[in-house]
Symmetry: C2
Amino acid sequence: MPPGLKDVAARAGVSIKTVSNVVNGYVHVAPATRARVQAAIEALGYVPNMAARQLRSGRSGVIALAVPELQSPYFAEIAGLIVQAAEQRSWTVLIDQTDGQAERERNLVAGLRRHAIDGLIFSPLALAGEELAHEGGTPMVLLGERVWHGPADHVAIDNTAAAADATRHLCSLGRRRIAAIGVQDRPSAVTARQRLAGYRSALAEAGRPALEMPVESFHRADGAAAMARLLDEGERPDAVFCFNDLLALGAMRTLAERGLSVPGDVAVIGFDDIEDGRFSTPTLSTISPDAPRIAQLAVDLLAERLGDGSAAAGAPRELRVDHRLVIRESTAG
Amino acid sequence: MPPGLKDVAARAGVSIKTVSNVVNGYVHVAPATRARVQAAIEALGYVPNMAARQLRSGRSGVIALAVPELQSPYFAEIAGLIVQAAEQRSWTVLIDQTDGQAERERNLVAGLRRHAIDGLIFSPLALAGEELAHEGGTPMVLLGERVWHGPADHVAIDNTAAAADATRHLCSLGRRRIAAIGVQDRPSAVTARQRLAGYRSALAEAGRPALEMPVESFHRADGAAAMARLLDEGERPDAVFCFNDLLALGAMRTLAERGLSVPGDVAVIGFDDIEDGRFSTPTLSTISPDAPRIAQLAVDLLAERLGDGSAAAGAPRELRVDHRLVIRESTAG
DNA sequence: CTTAAGTACTGCAACGTTGTATAGTCCAGT
DNA sequence: ACTGGACTATACAACGTTGCAGTACTTAAG
């Protein structure tokens, strides 16, 4: 049984509350007393009991981060950055994998964990719109664009503009048949729909035909399969905009297998700027979102809602984060 | 303020304890009463307060997983699998990033989180040996070989044998100058040392010279830099065994930049079987550990220690998990 | 008809912590 | 000497839950 305030108090010859005051850095404690208590704490190896603290204060010091899957490098990176940002506030991050399952996401929002976490940073995949609304419970910050008008804060890059940037870049290389890999028309696939919109608008601007390939999900295998379909289907594209880097890496793999050169025969650009793309052969051009800033802002927004007792007060905010086009070998020359 | 047992009890016209009994599935509750209480629970949206539960029971239902970094695909995969395995027991996993910092790892072992988690699955990087010993606190399962004789369970593959398998494979291709990338001589770099041992023994067996490149850490950039040094240094190797896949991907990148073909000029094999290697150009041969089994066993071991009150009882166990050699393009032909 | 065993439910205490209220001490300024 | 304030320390009551002990009633067995 680990020692409690009681044990420390007994050893130091003071009251329980005085020990509590020392632990919490209360100012009005005589130096001698403080020293005695400190010594007792050291001697017994006292560590505050978080459960009891939380029971009293209602705060656990834990925030949850819900992402579709950790295996995806982009989410792993975001997760790592959020953990770091949370550390500055000495929060612990509990990472939840939703696997893109609506049921799981619903549970999160419904607040099944309500009593254990102070706040939630959530990157929704299966849910969208009003389904994300939650009544007065845990403060929540969403990663991704705001496409509805519920009470949660959002942090996102401008997906549509970024997709247009990527597509325009391909146009500027003089490519004419520019395909998009990553189309999804589920109503909840907000990100895919926005990137598609950006792609279409840039193509329309340049007067080029659209060539759109749907995918099940955003993994390498989906990219590889989509590219294969594209090649088998008809006149082959001379450029591909993939809605994330994993799709692009999969697509490049198929191109290599078919003996096509990148960017010679087909230029490829991705989205997310994951590390893999910096070391692939060829290296992958991409849209680089300012991930550290996304993480920082998400945590800051949450802190704001948490600090202020009136969490509900203040209109929900949408914060826009920068992105930039990174040109590497897969679209060089 | 969320409703508590008290509120439910008032609404259902029973005592607090009866509600508690219903919630906990205690058998001796009249069906009618149970129904009434259930209705009240539904109506108020009652959710048990985990903090209070933990305070009473000492159990939080949360286990921690400590890995060096989530950005590393291997750890991300393990993390995902462990979360899934833990879910079967309805445990929540709190993922901790140590960033390979000894201080951070020490804190974990010392049990700074002692009161908030029931158990710890730990993949140590900076710490080794007796430093990992911990007195009677939280049950702990270590990922990685047991190189000391403390009280914790271990789950690991046979790193030395696996490294020898990889090296022998390169020998069997008729390669003569087989380099190793990933050497580390910090006493805590247990994994690196074991893989090095396997490499050396296989080379000795085949009567080939050793060619060893140290690295700072196990990332793509380290692999790329090590490969560059290797090429600049002297007679170039015709095969490289990299101690993980990230190093191998980095090395392949350097080879591509230098215009060398893989496996034509240099065969490359990695270790971990991360997804990147299945889609890289060329695809990467590797040692594939049975990661799902590692995750399952780690969780099962922890459950065993947790279930039994006498956690200290029972000798610490070391479980060996299978691995296999996966031959892909980077060592084909 | 008594006793024992079983069922249905309740009340109290405790888990370890902190906010509030309070009491005593000491000194400065009247 | 007397008031007011700052300082130091304490006691008590919660936070929401569950283990334990206990009460009242029912049924079965002797």
